[in-house]
């Protein structure tokens, strides 16, 4: 994987300033901001599936939105095939979005409740002139087949579908413009396990058949492990560790990754523990701790962790971790 990455994030920073209320002004409280992304550096290679995990609020969705240009970074840049996407306007921007698509978490909110499946797909195909007018109905049928929706679903409204079927419609909409990169933000989180499995199977299948590059955002470690070639672990707006799936799961090199893995309930009833894997709660993204953001909960934290922010440094053959304990998790 030495070829140029398809997409790369370079020290991306995103902040959401909080609205100051009258009381804030009166009390002369300074303007505050949610630090959603604090300098994220990440590459996405052509044809791979990169899993992105982390606890709620750590910035996964923000990252995904920055990638598809639903928001612009306050600092740093996102490059697609080497080009800074922040500069794209008009037709160029539309062209970019044609190649980078997204599917969303919420099976209920991500489809316009008043548009039939046919209207949704027709709009995508015709706005981007994917097919001549006459060929559009045929293409719609193809797309439905691709995501394994029955052909008679075209004229139904979203509320007439189950959650899993809706996610398929979302996928079909994204695939209609034949993108290179598909960003899937918590695509299956809202679904039942059985339906999750259906959609995951579909995604695996499509990725192989169409050669898609996928950014798979999720908080379920088992799922991410199942679907990804590589995995990145985020915490409070920073990437803590990134590496090949197998290596990362079998020998995590960051205490946070370790804690996440330990906290995830194992399917095997025999492996019970009485003590919680991680202590404390997630700090507020309004006041990200200095130094290593995880130091407040890390059992291994020492003075340096509190003051100096560790950078993502190579660990092992194909991974990187942002931890001052270089030897953490290394095979003895």
């Amino acid at each position: 994987m030495s070829a140029a990455p398809l997409l790369s994030l370079e020290d991306v920073v995103v902040r959401f300033p909080l609205r100051r209320t009258v009381m804030d002004r009166l009390a002369r409280r300074p303007a505050r901001a949610v630090h959603a992304l604090n300098g994220v550096r990440l590459d996405l290679h052509r044809g791979e599936t990169l899993g992105l995990v982390g606890e709620s609020g750590c910035g996964k969705s923000t990252l995904a939105r920055a990638v598809v240009r639903l928001l612009d970074p306050d600092d740093g840049r996102v490059r697609f095939e080497g080009q800074d996407i922040a500069g794209l306007v008009g037709a160029a921007r539309r062209g970019f979005n044609k190649r980078v698509q997204m599917v969303f978490q919420d099976p209920y909110g991500s489809l316009n409740p008043r548009m039939t499946v046919r209207q949704v797909l027709h709009e995508a195909l015709s706005v981007h002139r994917m097919r001549p007018r006459a060929a559009i109905p045929g293409r719609i049928a193809e797309l439905l087949d691709l995501v394994r929706l029955p052909p008679d679903s075209a004229d139904r409204l979203p509320h007439q579908f189950s959650g899993g079927q809706r996610q398929r419609i979302g996928i079909a909409r994204a695939l209609a413009v034949e993108p290179d990169l598909l960003v899937a933000d918590e695509l299956v989180s809202a679904l039942d396990v059985s339906v999750q499995a259906q959609v995951v199977n579909l995604l695996l299948d499509l990725q192989g058949r169409l050669g898609l590059t996928v950014l798979f955002v999720a908080h379920d470690l088992r799922l991410v492990r199942h679907i990804s070639h590589r995995v990145a672990v985020m915490y409070l707006g920073s990437v803590m560790e990134v590496g090949d799936t197998e290596a990362l799961f079998s020998a995590p090199r960051h205490p946070y990754t370790r804690a996440l893995l330990d906290a995830a309930p194992d399917l095997d009833p025999a492996r019970r523990t009485a003590v919680a894997a991680a202590r404390g709660e997630l700090p507020s993204p309004l006041a990200v701790p200095s130094g290593c953001p995880f130091h407040t909960r890390c059992p291994h934290a020492f003075d340096r962790c509190r003051t100096e922010r560790p950078v993502l440094a190579p660990r092992g053959p194909a991974g990187r971790a942002a931890c001052h304990l270089e030897g953490f998790g290394a095979p003895a």
């Binding site: 539309r94 044609k98 980078v100 991500s110 709009e123 706005v127 509320h159 909409r173 413009v177």
Partner: protein, 268 residues
């Protein structure tokens, strides 16, 4: 197609009946609305005049029926511009948010704090009395309420994933606002519209009391009620029947509003 709710059916039935009266008042009204009969002044309800007569000997039944046309017009034209313009303005405000929203907030403040009656009286005084100018006056103010409702709706819809999806699909802003967000954001405004139409009729009657509404001899429910004010003790029938008509119309609009609210609520 699901069975229409009782509210919707009831509302539609009432309004359809009123609409028929408005279109062909002659069907029910035995006399011309402005026809005098000096020999039958202030007569109580009788066979010849089922609702009685007023101080000009005009037939209250006929006037009440003919007034339907005027009042439905008031309801419609008094709200038409606010609905259309307010909806579009609200869409823009709701979509862009930020300083546009802040500015709009100021406008709302000003409109809500400004005594409405002053404005109406002023406009009527400048432009002359009559229904058309009444429409202008209520339109100047009314659009704000629709805009506020729609803006809130659009702002809500804008945050949903399907709006983000439309942007990721590379659709233009007008397409997103008009085709995607607006259809999902207008139902509250439409429901409010129904209430507003009833309120508009009522406003017409308050202004009629002040002489600023429909001009004589036009029969209009509010004016008819105001006409009967001095005869409450001696000729109650002058104002009772138009009063019933107003209540009925209000009921029709409000039922229709409730019914539409059910109907327009997007299915989940």
């Amino acid at each position: 197609m699901p069975r229409p709710s009782p509210a919707l059916a009831g509302g539609l039935a009432i309004l359809a009946a009123l609409l028929v009266l408005a279109l062909v008042p002659g069907l029910v009204a035995p006399y011309a609305p402005a026809a005098f009969d000096y020999r039958a002044i202030l007569k109580p309800p009788s066979f010849a005049h089922p609702f009685g007569t007023d101080n000009f000997g005009r037939d209250i039944l006929s006037r009440t029926v003919w007034a339907t046309r005027v009042d439905l017009q008031i309801a419609l034209f008094g709200t038409l511009v606010p609905v259309v313009f307010g909806t579009l303005a609200g869409a823009v405000v709701g979509y862009y948010g930020g300083w546009v929203e802040a500015l709009f907030g100021r406008v709302v403040d000003a409109v809500v704090t400004f005594p409405f009656l002053v404005l109406v009286i002023a406009i009527v005084a400048v432009l002359g009395p009559g229904l058309f100018n009444l429409y202008i006056a209520v339109s100047v103010v009314g659009w704000v309420f629709y805009a506020r409702i729609v803006a809130a709706g659009v702002a809500l819809q804008r945050r949903l994933d399907y709006a983000a999806a439309a942007r990721v699909m590379g659709y233009s802003t007008p397409r997103i606002v008009l085709r995607h967000l607006l259809p999902n954001a207008v139902s509250a405004a439409i429901v409010y519209w129904m209430t507003d139409m009833a309120l508009c009729i009522l406003l017409g009657s308050s202004l009629g009391y002040l002489g600023l509404g429909a001009q004589p001899p036009t029969a209009e429910w509010g004016v008819l009620i105001a006409d009967g004010k001095n005869y409450m003790n001696t000729a109650w029938w002058i104002s009772i029947f138009p009063g019933v008509a107003i209540v009925l119309a209000g009921l029709g609009f409000s039922l229709l509003g409730d019914g539409l609210a059910d109907l327009l609520r997007p299915k989940r």
